[in-house]
């Protein structure tokens, strides 16, 4: 049987800002059906890593393959077709502030499909219900709470039913109740809309809820990678320190 191609593959990826090396030779493979949680303290380069994988930034050296295609030197115009197969949930939601909730979620559909208004409305309402926000169509982002914004951002990222979703700190800035709601939502998505994801977070409990693979980023490299069980039993000092709640800051 032919081996299935990894969705995401990184080999020896380096990234520095103003001579400060954030990522130092990162390698990883994400297979279809896997949710990987990338954890680490503030400023260790988790978001940078996610942006590199999504093609929103370029590595200094190394190879990044998305759906089997090298993207590290791909022109923006050629990245677009690949990005339609991915979803990205931003830390601050990054909703279009002049558009209503409905128009935010409908945006990818209007750009990439020639669906009728009725089909678009049905799909948007389905995804707004999925994230627990039915009846919020006409609200503007400024009228939403932090948790609601995050959920609209998730609906927008999922509305085209992507093959892989990237979540950047989906629980950051949320109260425990909203964080749990978002966690349950992401866990629920795995059995439905999208079964492959990379979740960047510093929240261990949340990562345990949504991920079947974990990686701890420390000093620009993965200090450990494996199943949640393997990570919890790891005797790598940096991993133990992180699990003990000591911040890993670069």
């Amino acid at each position: 049987m032919m081996k299935e191609q990894p969705v995401v593959e990184l080999r020896g990826v380096w990234k520095a800002f103003d001579h400060h090396e954030v990522l130092r030779g990162i390698s990883l493979v994400l297979s279809k059906g896997t949710t990987l949680a990338v954890m680490g303290g503030s400023g260790v380069g988790k978001t940078v890593l996610l942006r590199l994988i999504a093609g929103l930034a370029r590595p200094d050296t190394g190879e990044i393959r998305l759906f089997g295609r090298n993207i590290e030197r791909l022109r923006e115009e050629h990245m677009l077709a690949l990005r339609r197969r991915t979803g990205f949930v931003f830390q601050g939601a990054a909703l279009f502030d002049s558009l209503s909730v409905f128009e935010n979620v409908a945006y990818p559909l209007r750009e990439h499909t020639s669906w009728s208004e009725g089909e678009i409305t049905d799909r948007v309402h389905r995804f707004l219900s999925l994230v627990g926000l039915p009846g919020t169509d006409s609200l503007l982002p400024a009228e939403l709470s932090g948790g609601m914004k995050k959920r609209v951002g998730i609906a927008r990222a999922l509305v085209l039913e992507p093959e892989v979703v990237f979540f950047d700190e989906p629980t950051a800035g949320l109260d425990p109740t909203n964080a749990r709601v978002v966690g349950e939502l992401i866990a629920e998505l795995r059995s439905g809309v999208c079964d492959t994801a990379i979740v960047v977070t510093h929240d261990i409990e949340f990562a345990g809820m949504v991920a079947d693979q974990m990686a701890i980023l420390h000093e620009g490299q993965f200090a450990a990678m494996g199943t949640p069980g393997e990570i919890h039993s790891s005797n790598v000092p940096a991993v133990q320190a992180f699990l003990a709640g000591e911040l890993l800051e670069n």
Partner: protein, 259 residues
């Protein structure tokens, strides 16, 4: 900071800025031919840039025409050449003041607006959100603005030229008692279509400079709201400087090509 360090730091910043602007121009050129075309957005920009700037452009133009007529008529009267105030006003307006004043006034307003809008989208990650959705942000955000500017600035320049000439006529006729027929007759005798077209031709280049500076500064905004303020201020200054510098070189070029 020593002079050498100051020059090195600012020289580096200027090189990065020029290089970035050049790269963006290349990207925009490449994207002009790519589908899809956002004509609805072009029309929105025409409204935002043009229709809402008409009053500013025309007010400046009519007063410039009047001042030109006042200054030239008073001085030309000393040589008994008051009847030739029309061609003086017309040549100044059509070749220089019409396109340059319109570009500086409307351009400053338009470009700072573009920088503020794109800059705030940049700092709130909305541009990255567009990219993540698979939208070509150059095609969606910059190309419509450039196309609208290429349409609007020549039209505003033509309007400003005409209103400037009318302003000149008002002063020449009402204050200096030059005959209106003589005013216009001398203009049509001495001013050629080439004078008019070189001014309008400049406005196309100014439109491109204004839009690209506004967009580049918006897209390269960093440092939150404080950075956004800095970028917007820089845009106004850079647009004015860009237009004035480009005007000199375009004048040299047009004189070389068409004179």
């Amino acid at each position: 900071m020593t002079t050498a360090t100051y020059l090195r730091v600012h020289g580096r910043q200027a090189a990065i800025w020029s290089g970035g602007l050049g790269l963006l121009t290349g990207q925009v050129m490449r994207n002009l031919a790519l589908p899809p075309s956002y004509w609805r957005l072009v029309m929105q920009e025409v409204d935002a840039m043009g229709v809402r700037s008409v009053v500013v452009a025309l007010t400046a133009a009519i007063f410039t025409g009047m001042v030109l007529a006042l200054q030239s008529a008073v001085n030309m009267a000393r040589f008994g050449a008051e009847n030739y105030v029309g061609p003086v006003v017309a040549l100044s307006m059509l070749r220089e003041l019409g396109p340059v004043l319109t570009a500086i006034l409307v351009g400053g307003k338009v470009a700072s607006g573009i920088t503020a809008e794109l800059g705030s989208m940049k700092v709130t990650e909305q541009i990255d959100a567009l990219r993540a959705i698979g939208v070509n942000y150059v095609k969606k955000l910059i190309v419509p603005r450039l196309l609208a500017a290429l349409l609007i600035f020549p039209l505003l320049t033509i309007l400003a030229d005409f209103i400037g000439l009318l302003g000149g006529m008002l002063i020449a006729v009402l204050e200096r008692h030059v005959d209106a027929y003589v005013y216009w007759n001398n203009i049509f005798y001495w001013v050629t279509v080439r004078d008019f077209l070189t001014g309008v031709g400049k406005s196309f280049f100014f439109a491109a400079i204004i839009t690209l500076i506004g967009c580049y500064n918006g897209l390269s905004t960093e440092g939150g709201t404080e950075g956004l303020g800095r970028a917007t201020t820089a845009t106004v200054v850079q647009v004015a400087m860009g237009v004035i510098l480009a005007d000199f070189f375009l004048t040299k070029l047009f004189l070389f090509l068409f004179w």
